[in-house]
Subunit: 310 residues, 2 copies
Amino acid sequence: MSRIVVLTGGVGGAKLVLGLMRVCRPKDITAIVNTGDDFRHMGLAVSPDIDTLLYTLAGKANAAQGWGREGESWSFMDVLKSLGGENWFLLGDGDLALHVLRSHLLANGETLSATTARFAAAWGLGLTMLPMSDDPVATHLTTDEGDLPFQRYFVQRRCAPAVQAIRFEGAARAVPAPGVIEAISDPETRAILIAPSNPWLSVDPVLAVPGIREALAAAKAPVVAVSPIVGGQAVKGPTAKLMGELGLAVTNQSIAAHYAGVIDGLLIDGRDDAADLLIPHDVTDTLMKTLEDRERVARAALALADRIAG
Amino acid sequence: MSRIVVLTGGVGGAKLVLGLMRVCRPKDITAIVNTGDDFRHMGLAVSPDIDTLLYTLAGKANAAQGWGREGESWSFMDVLKSLGGENWFLLGDGDLALHVLRSHLLANGETLSATTARFAAAWGLGLTMLPMSDDPVATHLTTDEGDLPFQRYFVQRRCAPAVQAIRFEGAARAVPAPGVIEAISDPETRAILIAPSNPWLSVDPVLAVPGIREALAAAKAPVVAVSPIVGGQAVKGPTAKLMGELGLAVTNQSIAAHYAGVIDGLLIDGRDDAADLLIPHDVTDTLMKTLEDRERVARAALALADRIAG
């Protein structure tokens, strides 16, 4: 009973996985990563959440910036601009290696699973990294500016448009990547964690892949989410703004309601009100600024899962 | 009668075109560029001779290195190596912008002609740059190590294998790019120059595109080649070694014989013997180290053409 499964999106999720890597054996960890943000940019296959996790676990992430590589160079973008190419999405010189090699391997018939495993192994990360699916799923937002693919909303428009609805194109036809259902359903799985990534934009695409929500509901292992709410706000990104636009209070009660039927417990921050929270929960400082913070949150989430499992 | 047409390959050819740009009006110059070296590397469309010409004319070429961009950075290759990607062909960070954007535009249905014109215009080069063809042509070498595509021979094996034969895959089905035949056949064309690029590897692919050799033979304008031989040696690259392997003496007589039926005159270097050279010729210092050298060779080639035209 040593296996830990974690569903994760971008930066916040990668922090929790890094914490898990320090309090568990990496080989016991299976990360199931959102690919709803994936898109083709100038023909290149970009997988932002997979890359954020790779960079974070390899110690290569630019923590201050919140995306991309530490010590990145920008010659590519400079020359691209001089040629009149699109420059709303920034591709760092080193970052391009992942996109170019991934595109090449996918074009040669390799799956996204295999490419992701190849990259994680090349950097010696030791955990199992699985995309949620090898099939394309694309998060789209219906906004007051019309339909926007995720990156147009998130990067180009900096989450400014008001969101009315979210859909995951291709999800209905997508199949969980090899190993995803097995990891969730494995009787040896000790805990299944949902990282404090945006529930609507980063976790819902994973849950939208047919079979994953059902497997979580049926899992023997306890499912514990780490709430993205800290002190009535989202730590980062558009979560709080989005919740308001969707008519939801920015509370853990909203998070618990959103994950109803999926989670068995919720880890919340000490700054927030636990009253009216009927689901099993624990309280800690969930803000993850330092490595010690990441370890603390990972330990607290596992402890809650262990308590639920009895 | 102001138009100048020049057939060119890589570095040596780009030097002559740069000289022409300084002694003629750029808008009068049409460069027809070898694309037999073009290949797909990790899915990216690489056009080495077009890029060398773009970099040289834009003042961005790395003259010391003989290829690529001045002041290039190498983050892409560093990360690619860490991922276990192929690293026999070096792609600089800024250089990648041309390959990624070109691949993207080609995938969207743009022709290589249009992409090349777009890049030349973006950098304000002022001349007309035409690939020899919009259709793929791939130079292959039969060697003592078996069949080698051009870049494997040239870059990976550094021209070490002994060459027995050269062929241009796809050439028989290729069509000259729009403007190529028109430029050669234009009654307003004053001179057609063949740059001192490798006749077998860089110029022959151009001549192998059906219609180009015939148009040169029929052209009203004089066709003058600048010999790649200087002092019984090739200035650069595998020309002399290759000529030996093909059973040819490294002489201007061999160059003249190779271009028989195509050229009306040959510009040779003062260090070489002009005896037995039956074709109209002029002698100058053809070594192009400085900008003044490039201008001198351009002027001398045009003067020979004018003398032949009478």
